[in-house]
Symmetry: C2
Subunit: 405 residues, 2 copies
Amino acid sequence: MLVVQKFGGSSVADAERVFNVARVVTDKYSEGNDVIVVVSAQGDTTDELIEKAREINPDASRREMDMLLSSGEQISIALLAMAIEKLGFPVISLLGWQAGFQTNSVYSAARIKRIQTERIQNELDKKNIVVVAGFQGINRFGDVTTLGRGGSDTSAVALAAALHADICQIYTDVDGVYTADPRKVKNAFKLDEITYDEMLELATLGAQVLNNRSVEMAKKYNVEIEVLSSLKRVPGTMVKEAAKMEKMLIKSVAKDTNVARIMIVGVPDEPGVAFQIFSRVAKAHINVDIILQSVGRDGTKDITFTVAADKGAEAVETLREYIERVGAQNISYDTGVAKISIVGAGMETHEGVAARMFEVLGDAGINIQMISTSEIKVSVLIDEAQADRAVQVVHAAFFEDSLAL
Amino acid sequence: MLVVQKFGGSSVADAERVFNVARVVTDKYSEGNDVIVVVSAQGDTTDELIEKAREINPDASRREMDMLLSSGEQISIALLAMAIEKLGFPVISLLGWQAGFQTNSVYSAARIKRIQTERIQNELDKKNIVVVAGFQGINRFGDVTTLGRGGSDTSAVALAAALHADICQIYTDVDGVYTADPRKVKNAFKLDEITYDEMLELATLGAQVLNNRSVEMAKKYNVEIEVLSSLKRVPGTMVKEAAKMEKMLIKSVAKDTNVARIMIVGVPDEPGVAFQIFSRVAKAHINVDIILQSVGRDGTKDITFTVAADKGAEAVETLREYIERVGAQNISYDTGVAKISIVGAGMETHEGVAARMFEVLGDAGINIQMISTSEIKVSVLIDEAQADRAVQVVHAAFFEDSLAL
């Protein structure tokens, strides 16, 4: 088997952890597999480098930021390779450009265009364990680029796709994908498998297990991902095609408190108002999640939408001039809200899932402020103070036998 | 003019010093010059990285050590480029491989084979200040190599040679080359110029102003070097061809206390003994400096030689078995010695320089234990406690008017 393994920055934060990773890697190699390991920068290295840059020039060019930040993975691949050498295994470390990662030229947020796999293939043929710097590549000018934060997941999946690896194992702080946050819901359990689409919905819901772009790429190239822990040696959760797995009604209940609700009261009930508002928000590079527009009454209507919590004030400022000009009554924002979501491919073919969710929330006295749905997801916005309890009652309703649908 | 400037690790140790370097560089650029800047890793970065590696694997391969250590310059070039951006000048940083440094494959002590200058030339044509990572290159396998410690001087001189630069300015902690250590000899003065050969002799004498390999390369390709300080904005010392300068009798008086004297008493006065001794020392990778052999008497002779202070015990251990086997009386070592040297191309054509040195030392009551001479150098070994006074009286004899030869 050809196995691609990816370890994040906290997995290689110090010498002891580097050796832990080295043992996971060499155990897999000892079973007779070809192994490629993608690693991120150690622990806080990236943040420390960013701080060094800020001290000198807060407006440094992205090209030089990428030059600076890509040194972080260079350190971690060398140290991991040294630990693997110490354990007595053949190993070689490769930088992004040496591993053939060719990207476009959007510094700090580059996209992989292709991977020239000759060098890696050559090292695998020599039976070397290949340690690859995640998060980085080069553009057509021969300049170093980075894929943006979380990009090491994408590096790993892209390598697995390019080399037709049998599996891409993403090692994280958690040992898999759970039906809910196990720290908050005591009956939460680990899923054996989940579809790409479900994983994508969970990622956007703030369950930061896998970087979204990497899941999209895995789906596109049909790369099977396993999410697992580098500390516990137990099977994790497989992320793969829906056709290959048994359908569960829903897979997970997620909570996202990184939400601000923007309320605009009394805008004219005329065509083009929503366009004017949301084009201004888009121009300010603020992502909008849920949108709710009231039915017009007395020639005015209300528009409510959600953005990331730290964008609330900025969204209001961006719109204030327009809001005043069209004579709306008021614009305000509120960060005391949370988004609770259920995700599962099963709900596509099963009626009543959303209704059941609304019912258990209502029974628990939790008021729903906004609703958003997709084919495999239902999200509701509620008071932040009730968020943990909401997750518990929804989890109980869908996953715990006594309360099953 | 095309100017290559080189700054060491202490010159870029923190944000303030990085800006000081940026101002030196941009001032030179503002005068209408093309400027290439070679920098080392910041302050203690290299030592910190070596410590990280030791913690994981003290016997790490040199290939992975080079991968690790080359990240140090990557950080410093990015930070310096950011500072130059902040001052409003066009700039680009380049890693060793991007700057075209092709080396052989002796990891950790690689030699530059050629520099492919297209990329740098291209950036100069665009009127960019080019910041280049010193100390590093790539070999024919596309792997990162380092030139060994002090290699950034060599990077700078090699670039100056390849691009036919008008001058290579090496910025150091001192503002030039002095007739003696100015902290010890109050009348010591800075030389305006010095020949390559004189500089080479001074470098081997422990005056660590310039890396030796870089001076050899500068001599070979006739690159004019200026040694100067990044803090004091005053002219430094030019290192160039002898033909271009007025000859001074001697240029500098140097002291080296990093010396151990090994004494072997009573070895058989037979052919092959010296070979047996010094081949054993060479095999242990210990460099021998001065050698003194007594005239044979009663069938035995004494052999005395010097090595670096920290190699004294090892040299004795290396030889003990052989010494006992041939029935020599005794082997011992002594680190309480110092080497005092005078260097100057002028002495080639001027008799009596060595004699004058011996005379002033004798007048000062300083006993000479060993003597070594080359065409442009005279070294004597004396008691370490008398070293500073020896430098003072020799300096006075050759440089101070009242005592001139």
